[in-house]
C-alpha cells in the first residue's frame, strides 16, 4: 500500500506524509486545493501544517489515478470517484460539466479524498457466530467506521466455506479490481461483478451465476431495496451495508425499514473491527 501511495501522491507531499504517518493505520488522505494536507490514522484526522496542496498536486494525483487516461473515467467522474490499484478509492469534487441535461464529467478538480482499503482479520465471537449461523445480514454504521472492512471479511469467510458468493462491486472498492485484476483476496468461491450498475446486476447475475450469497456495499434507494428483497425471495442470502448510525433510524425510515422484515441480523459498528452489537431480528440479541 505504501508503494501505491508513493506513486499516487506527489513526492513532496508523500515525503512529509512518510515522516509522520503509520501506514498500517492510515485510512484516508485528503487533498484540498490550496489547503493543508489532512490524513486519517485509524479514523482520526490530523493535519500536516505548512504543506499546502497545489493545483499541480491534484492534477498529478488525478493523472496517476487515471493512468493518464482521463477520457476513460468520465462516467466515474460524474459519479464522483475513481478506483485506483489495490482498491484505493478516490472521491473527487470539482465543477460539473452538464451535457444533454445530465452530469457528464467534472472539471477544475478542487478536492481528492483518497480512501485506503483494509483487509482486517476480525477476531470477534459475534462475527464468528454470524458466519456459523449465516443468514441475511445488514451491516450499519456511520461512514468510515469499517462497514466495508467487515463486509470483506465476511465475504472471504463465507467464500472459504464454499458458499458461492457473488459480489456486486459497482465502484470496484470491495474487490479492488483494476484492469481486470483482483487486488484484494475475497476467497476462492467468490465471483465479482465490477462497474455494472447494481440494479442491472441483481437481475442478470442471480440468474446466470446462481449464487448462494450476494454481497453488496452501501445500499441506496428504493429500487435497490426492491432488488434485494426479490433476491431474498428467490432464496439467495444477502449481506449488505447501509449508512446509518442506529437501528432505530433504519426502523423509522419508510424506505429502509422494509429490509428489516427479511434480514435476520443487523450488525452495528463503532470502529474498524469493533462491533457494537448484533441484533437477531428473530428475537435473540448478542
Amino acid at each position: 500500500m505504501e508503494m501505491l501511495l508513493s506513486k499516487l501522491i506527489p513526492i513532496s507531499l508523500f515525503n512529509e506524509l512518510y515522516r509522520k504517518v503509520d501506514f498500517n493505520l492510515l485510512t484516508e488522505v485528503r487533498m484540498r486545493l490550496e489547503k493543508p494536507l489532512y490524513y486519517a490514522e485509524a479514523g482520526k484526522y490530523k493535519r500536516i501544517d505548512g504543506l499546502i496542496v497545489s493545483k499541480d498536486d491534484l492534477l498529478y494525483t488525478l493523472g496517476v489515478a487515471t493512468k493518464t487516461s482521463l477520457y476513460a473515467y468520465d462516467d466515474y467522474l460524474a459519479e464522483g470517484f475513481i478506483t485506483y490499484d489495490g482498491g484505493i478509492r478516490i472521491g473527487i469534487t470539482g465543477e460539473g460539466v452538464i451535457k444533454n441535461g445530465r452530469l457528464s464529467t467534472l472539471k477544475n478538480i478542487t478536492s481528492l479524498c483518497i480512501r485506503i482499503p483494509r483487509y482486517v482479520k476480525i477476531h470477534n465471537e459475534k462475527v464468528d457466530c454470524l458466519i456459523n449461523k449465516f443468514d441475511n445480514t445488514l451491516i450499519i454504521s456511520k461512514p468510515g467506521y469499517g462497514k466495508t472492512t467487515l463486509l470483506r471479511y465476511m465475504i472471504k469467510s463465507l467464500s472459504d466455506r464454499e458458499y458461492n458468493t457473488l459480489v456486486l462491486d459497482e465502484r470496484g472498492e470491495l474487490s479492488g479490481v483494476v484492469d481486470g485484476k483482483l487486488s484484494i483476496d475475497l476467497g476462492s468461491c467468490t465471483d465479482v461483478v465490477v462497474g455494472v450498475p447494481k440494479i442491472t446486476a441483481y437481475a442478470s447475475q442471480v440468474r446466470s451465476m446462481r449464487p448462494d450469497v450476494i454481497a453488496t456495499d452501501e445500499i441506496f434507494g428504493e429500487k435497490e431495496i426492491e432488488c434485494i428483497l426479490d433476491c431474498i425471495r428467490c432464496g439467495v442470502k444477502v449481506i449488505a451495508t447501509l449508512h446509518s448510525d442506529e437501528i432505530s433510524k433504519v426502523k423509522k425510515s419508510p424506505i429502509y425499514s422494509r429490509l428489516l422484515s427479511d434480514f435476520r441480523y443487523v450488525v452495528s459498528i463503532i470502529g474498524i473491527g469493533n462491533i457494537d452489537r448484533v441484533v437477531d431480528l428473530r428475537g435473540n440479541y448478542a
Binding site: L59, G63, K67, T68, S69, L70, Y71, A72, D74, K99
Partner: protein, 166 residues
C-alpha cells in the same frame, strides 16, 4: 594512381551521402506513418472499450519497430509509472527525423493525451489527424522528389569529381 584512389573514395562518399539523404526522407515518412497508425489505434481503443492509454500503447508497440515505436515506448513507460511532465514528453519525442513544426505537434499531442474528457480527447485527436495528414502528404512528396533525387545526385557528383580529378 593516387589521384584515382582519392577520386574513388570521394565518389563513394558523395554517393553514400546521397543514399543517407534518401534514408532520412524514408525514415521521416515511416515515422509519420507510424504516428498516423498509432492515432488510428488510439481512436479505436478510446472509442470502443475506453481502454487506458498504457494498454493501447502496449498493444500498438507489439506490432512493429522503428524510431516512432522507440519514442512511443519511452512515453508509455512514463505514462505507466507517473503523470509525465511537459519536459519529459519533450524528451521522448525529440526525434531527428522530425521538423520543428512536427515536434511541436507531437509534443503537444502527447502531453495533452489522457488529460481530457472523452469528447475533448476525440476532438483533439481529429485536429491532430488533420494536421498530420497535411504533414504526411508533404513528407511523402519530399521523399518522392528530394529523397529520390539525392542518391542520383550523389552518384553524379561523385562521378563528376572522379572525372575532374582524372
Amino acid at each position: 594512381m593516387l589521384k584515382f584512389a582519392i577520386s574513388g573514395v570521394l565518389c563513394f562518399i558523395s554517393a553514400y551521402l546521397g543514399i543517407a539523404g534518401k534514408n532520412y526522407y524514408d525514415k521521416r515518412c515511416k515515422y509519420l506513418r507510424d504516428f498516423d497508425d498509432f492515432l488510428s489505434s488510439l481512436r479505436d481503443g478510446i472509442s470502443y472499450a475506453k481502454d487506458k492509454l498504457p494498454q493501447i500503447g502496449r498493444k500498438f508497440l507489439s506490432g512493429g519497430k522503428g524510431a516512432f515505436y522507440n519514442n512511443l515506448e519511452e512515453y508509455i513507460c512514463l505514462a505507466e509509472s507517473c503523470n509525465p511532465t511537459q519536459e519529459q514528453v519533450n524528451k521522448c519525442f525529440d526525434s531527428k527525423y522530425l521538423s520543428k513544426f512536427d515536434k511541436v505537434m507531437l509534443k503537444d499531442f502527447f502531453f495533452q493525451l489522457g488529460r481530457y474528457d472523452y469528447d475533448t480527447q476525440i476532438s483533439r485527436l481529429d485536429l491532430t489527424e488533420s494536421q498530420l495528414k497535411k504533414t504526411l502528404e508533404k513528407a511523402e512528396k519530399e521523399r518522392k522528389t528530394t529523397g529520390n533525387l539525392l542518391p542520383k545526385l550523389g552518384l553524379v557528383l561523385g562521378i563528376a569529381i572522379m572525372i575532374i580529378l582524372a
